[in-house]
């Protein structure tokens, strides 16, 4: 299909042009802006690229282009005639809306881009709307996104009432009181927290990511939720002189999101839901970084600002890269096996050598292990945590270190489980036959992402100028002068190169062992003397995570079904462990249901005939016209002419 290639190619071209622009903006960090006239009564059509926009533009341009190229092979029109066009149109629209949002300098334009983004993502999530769980995920996503939109509307309206402008620029210090600023901040935090999937506002995220086609999941997890992070960073830039309490709040939310996200991830059997919960975890890490930066700003410690925000923005990049890689390679697995259930897979490394190696690399990266990119941003965040030990006012930031350690160890456990039970060992379910390995159009984007993991892990210095510019632009005119530079703070590239050498030694040693193993006797696995080992005796993903799920019982509230063994000849029975989303099932759903109940009285005015609705529409339109038009003016004009 030519049209298909052209669409992907155009998106790639657009990304290349945009990246060039972002690089130019970083190279000369004065405000680059454009303004056009527009016909709407509110707002202005103003766009500009500052350091923050530029830093977020890099992943936002890169990932959609790679996802589109992957989509050529993954969602071909031959296989999906009913939805191929829909996926391509909305993928491009989503990419465009996110880019517009990042460069918008006016609240009205920002909100319009936000809405286009939300709706195109909705149509992408519900691509396979023949399945009821997909529709359900889509509705939850739509409801959550519009809650977020309404909160933003309130926030910008309040900002307009206080400052008289819709500009997305820093408010003059002292012009708004602390109380009003805190209200604005809280509104923005919840609104963007929903978008970013910060726990406990994350309820839409796991089902939406699991239901969408895999390259769309990559796009959503890699970039879309980062728009929420951008929003939080942008609003913090606009509201000057943050109190320490905001930073503490962000630290607590980030820690809850980080630990909660990874805890729920361990309990999942669905590979895409599992990856979705890891996005919540990584968003938590990013929010902790922003929290440290706010604490640093409030206590006037520029070093802490640079480390905190630098770590946050670099982790935005890193997560976009390795999570996109993980979703794309998981897409190959789901496509090849026809299931998302980890417990039915096993031994896929043989049939899918490329995807298994690339997924393993992504897994090492997301666990924050050297020599890949995840390690670098976590290292910077650790340094920030150690730095906050020195503060006098608030030393809560130091606890970021043990929290990160818990998150890292749990993530490690979770990804050992995934890699082990999907790609290694023996196949678990004879009905699951692995299909074909990805073709080159799908493999190339994954290889690009994997090499980016390596490059940013070994020579992260290439990203430091962007981070420095972003931090400087976040601190504004006054604070930027005394900021230290990241490259002076961190032992890179020396450490990166040293670690890369270590990796090379490890590879060499592995090669030596493999040579030694060439003539080795090949036998069955040693199972302590038991010769007839079958795949049913293997540890499954569920059994692997069982002890941890048990330890985390107070958070996860698992539904456990133990096998029943009764009588001398017990019947067949199975062990099942299911963990639902506790926040959604216990809090959001009952709350929404009660609210809907209360609103049911309004429903009596709901006629079932279309004529009644037309009457409502007419009445509403006339009412609005009367409200907007000065009636006396109109009458006077009519009388005199």
């Amino acid at each position: 299909m030519v049209a298909d290639r052209v669409a992907a190619g155009l998106l790639g071209l657009g990304a290349a042009v945009g990246l060039a622009g972002a690089i130019a903006a970083v190279a000369s960090p004065t405000a680059h802006g454009l303004a056009w006239p527009w016909a709407l009564p509110w707002g202005r059509l103003v766009v500009a690229v500052d350091g923050i926009s530029a830093a977020f533009l890099f992943p936002t341009l890169l990932v959609p282009a790679l996802a589109a190229i992957y989509g050529v092979g993954y969602w071909p029109p031959q296989a999906h005639p009913e939805s191929a066009v829909r996926v391509r149109v909305f993928l491009g629209l989503l990419a465009g809306a996110m880019t517009t949002l990042l460069i918008a300098r006016d609240a009205v334009l920002f909100l319009m881009a936000f809405e286009v983004m939300t709706l195109s993502a909705f149509f992408l999530v519900t691509t396979e709307d023949g399945r009821s769980e997909v529709r359900e995920a889509g509705w939850v996503y739509l409801a959550a996104s519009h809650t977020s939109f309404l909160l933003l509307l309130a926030m910008f309206a309040a900002l307009h009432a206080l400052t008289g402008s819709f500009d997305l620029t820093a408010v003059a210090p002292g012009s708004i009181g602390l109380g009003a600023r805190s209200v604005l901040f809280l509104l923005a935090l919840v609104a963007f927290g929903i978008k970013a999937g910060v726990m406990p506002f994350h309820v839409w995220l796991p089902p939406a990511h699991a239901s969408a086609p895999s390259h769309v999941s990559a796009l959503m997890s890699g970039v879309l939720i980062k728009i929420g992070i951008y929003g939080i960073v942008r609003v913090l830039e606009m509201l000057p002189e943050p109190p320490v309490a905001w930073g503490v709040l962000l630290l607590l939310l980030g820690a809850a999101s980080g630990i909660g996200g990874v805890a729920f991830a361990i309990a999942q059997h669905d590979i895409k839901r599992l990856l979705a919960y890891h996005s919540i975890e990584n968003i938590g890490i990013i929010v902790m970084g922003i929290g440290l930066a706010v604490v640093g700003r409030a206590t006037h410690v520029p070093l802490l600002v640079v480390l905190g925000l630098g770590a946050a923005v670099l982790h935005v990049w890193n997560h976009a890269i390795f999570k996109a890689l993980l979703f794309l390679s998981a897409g190959v697995v789901v496509h090849a096996t026809g299931t998302r259930d980890i417990d039915r897979m096993g031994g896929l490394g043989r049939a899918l050598p490329w995807s298994s190696a690339l997924f393993t690399l992504g897994a090492v990266a997301i666990c924050g292990l050297p020599p890949l990119n995840g390690f670098v941003s976590e290292l910077i965040l650790y340094l920030g945590a150690f730095e906050s030990l020195k503060l006098q006012e608030v030393r809560l930031g130091a606890l970021v270190a043990p929290v990160l350690a818990v998150i890292g160890a749990l993530a490690c456990a979770c990804f050992v489980k995934v890699v082990g039970s999907v790609f290694l060992g023996m196949p678990r379910d004879p009905t699951v036959r692995p299909g074909d390995e990805a073709g080159w159009s799908m493999r190339a984007p994954m290889v690009i992402l994997a090499s980016l993991c390596l490059v940013l892990g070994v020579v992260p210095v290439v990203a430091f100028p962007v981070l420095d510019v972003a931090v400087a632009s976040w601190m504004g005119q006054t604070g930027a002068r005394e900021l230290p530079h990241l490259r002076d703070l961190l032992p890179f590239p020396a450490v990166g190169i040293a670690v890369a050498m270590v990796a090379a030694v490890a590879a060499g040693l592995a090669w030596v062992l493999m040579r030694a193993a060439r003539g080795a006797q090949v036998v069955g696995t040693w199972d302590c003397g038991y010769a007839r080992i079958t795949s049913r005796m293997q540890y499954t993903g569920s059994s692997f995570g069982r002890t941890l799920v048990d330890l985390l019982r107070p958070i996860l509230r698992p539904h456990r079904h133990d096998p029943v063994l009764a009588g001398a000849f017990p019947l067949r029975s199975a062990f099942r462990l299911h963990v639902g989303d506790v926040v959604f099932e216990r809090w959001v759903l009952p709350l929404v249901e009660r609210f809907a109940d209360r609103c049911s009285r309004l429903r009596t005015r709901q006629a079932l005939r279309i004529q009644m609705y037309i009457v409502y529409v007419v009445v509403a339109t006339v009412g609005l016209l009367l409200f907007l038009i000065d009636v006396r003016e109109l009458l006077r004009a009519a009388v005199f002419e």
């Binding site: 031994g347 490394g349 090492v364 666990c367 924050g368 292990l369 050297p370 390690f375 290292l379 650790y382 340094l383 150690f386 270190a401 043990p402 929290v403 350690a405 818990v406 890292g408 160890a409 749990l410 490690c412 990804f415 050992v416 890699v419 082990g420 290694l424 060992g425 703070l489 961190l490 032992p491 020396a494 450490v495 040293a498 270590v502 030694v505 490890a506 040693l509 592995a510 030596v512 062992l513 493999m514 030694a516 003539g519 080795a520 006797q521 036998v523 069955g524 696995t525 040693w526 199972d527 302590c528 080992i533 795949s535 293997q538 540890y539 059994s543 692997f544 002890t547 941890l548 330890l551």
Partner: protein, 312 residues
């Protein structure tokens, strides 16, 4: 201010690497000897671990047909990661060959990298027992890691340094005067973590052959020949490295002479091995269910030590 990477003097570095590569198996020999003496036996020679390694290197491998490249990458990555982590540690009052601000994070994460690949290699065999071991290993790590970081955080605060070479320098000795309770708690907590991370009693029994009860040994059931040698050698280096942290906290001696300092350090390391041997002789292995309690306890102790510092 955070300083950049520093390479120590060449002689120190060479000496450091030689000690690191040569001495660790000796510790295992001393532990086994101590346990034998407690049991009223003569025991194997102290150098037995070296003989074992030499024997394994000469043997041929037997490999399961279920396995893939991950199975052999496991020992290779783990050994390399452990050695490079140990290169970040100071020995005998000397700075480490490689040290920079924040190297403690790299130290912990290199060990985690080793754990990732050891556990993945275990799952590669498809064996129920090895899956069990891998699950336990990563589960207990989730409890040990935060405890270790709480302890390291307290050391950062006490020493004012972000480098392991500064945190474990002889200067830390003054902390015993300034903040004795915190130091006691950190050492106690870290001792438990060292035992747990290295699969010693009371968490795991390295000499047992009842596969159901084990953690580390059961993960490497299928490795043989040179691969098993790499696993065992890596494990001994890990014990040596983590023991060195404890030893330098408890015996923060700087006599001024390089030879004397190394002598004191090595003697203290042997004493550490004897202590581990004594603990193993006097205690039984805990039931697996209680291991998590023990590790949480270690975390609480180190956390409380840190809290004392921050409040006091």
């Amino acid at each position: 201010m955070i300083r950049s990477l520093v390479l120590g003097s060449i002689v120190d570095a060479v000496l450091h690497v030689l000690v690191l590569l040569a001495v660790p198996p000796l510790l295992q020999g001393v532990i086994v000897k101590t346990k034998a003496r407690f049991g009223g036996r003569v025991g194997a020679p102290v150098l037995q671990p070296y003989f074992d390694l030499a024997k394994l290197l000469r043997k041929e491998m037997v490999i399961s047909r279920t396995t893939s490249w991950v199975f052999l990458a496991g020992p290779a990555v783990t050994l390399t990661a452990t050695v490079s982590a140990a290169l970040l540690l100071p020995f005998g009052g000397m700075s480490a060959p490689v040290h920079f601000a924040g190297d403690l994070v790299l130290f912990a994460y290199l060990l985690a990298l080793g754990r990732f690949f050891t556990a993945a290699a275990a799952l590669d065999t498809g064996s129920a027992f090895e899956g069990m071991g891998a699950a336990r290993e990563v589960t207990f790590a989730c409890l040990a890691e935060p405890a270790m970081f709480l302890g390291l955080l307290a050391l950062v605060k006490l020493s004012g340094s972000l480098e392991l070479s500064g945190m474990l320098a002889p200067g830390i000795g003054t902390a015993w005067g300034r903040a004795a309770p915190t130091m006691v708690m950190i050492v106690a907590g870290l001792f438990v973590i060292v035992l747990a991370e290295n699969s010693r009693i009371p968490v795991d029994d390295p000499s047992t052959h009842l596969e159901l009860t084990m953690i580390h040994e059961v993960m490497v059931l299928d490795h043989s020949g040179p691969a098993l040698a790499a696993v065992l050698y890596g494990a001994s280096i890990k014990l040596f490295a983590m023991g060195a942290i404890l030893v330098q906290l408890v015996v923060p001696v700087a006599l001024g002479s390089v030879l004397l300092d190394w002598g004191v350090f090595l003697a203290a390391m042997l004493a550490f091995a004897i202590v581990v041997g004594v603990v193993e002789s006097c205690m039984a292995r805990l039931r697996l269910l209680y291991v998590s309690n023990l590790l949480v306890g270690a975390g609480v102790i180190t956390g409380f030590g840190l809290l004392l510092l921050l409040v006091g």
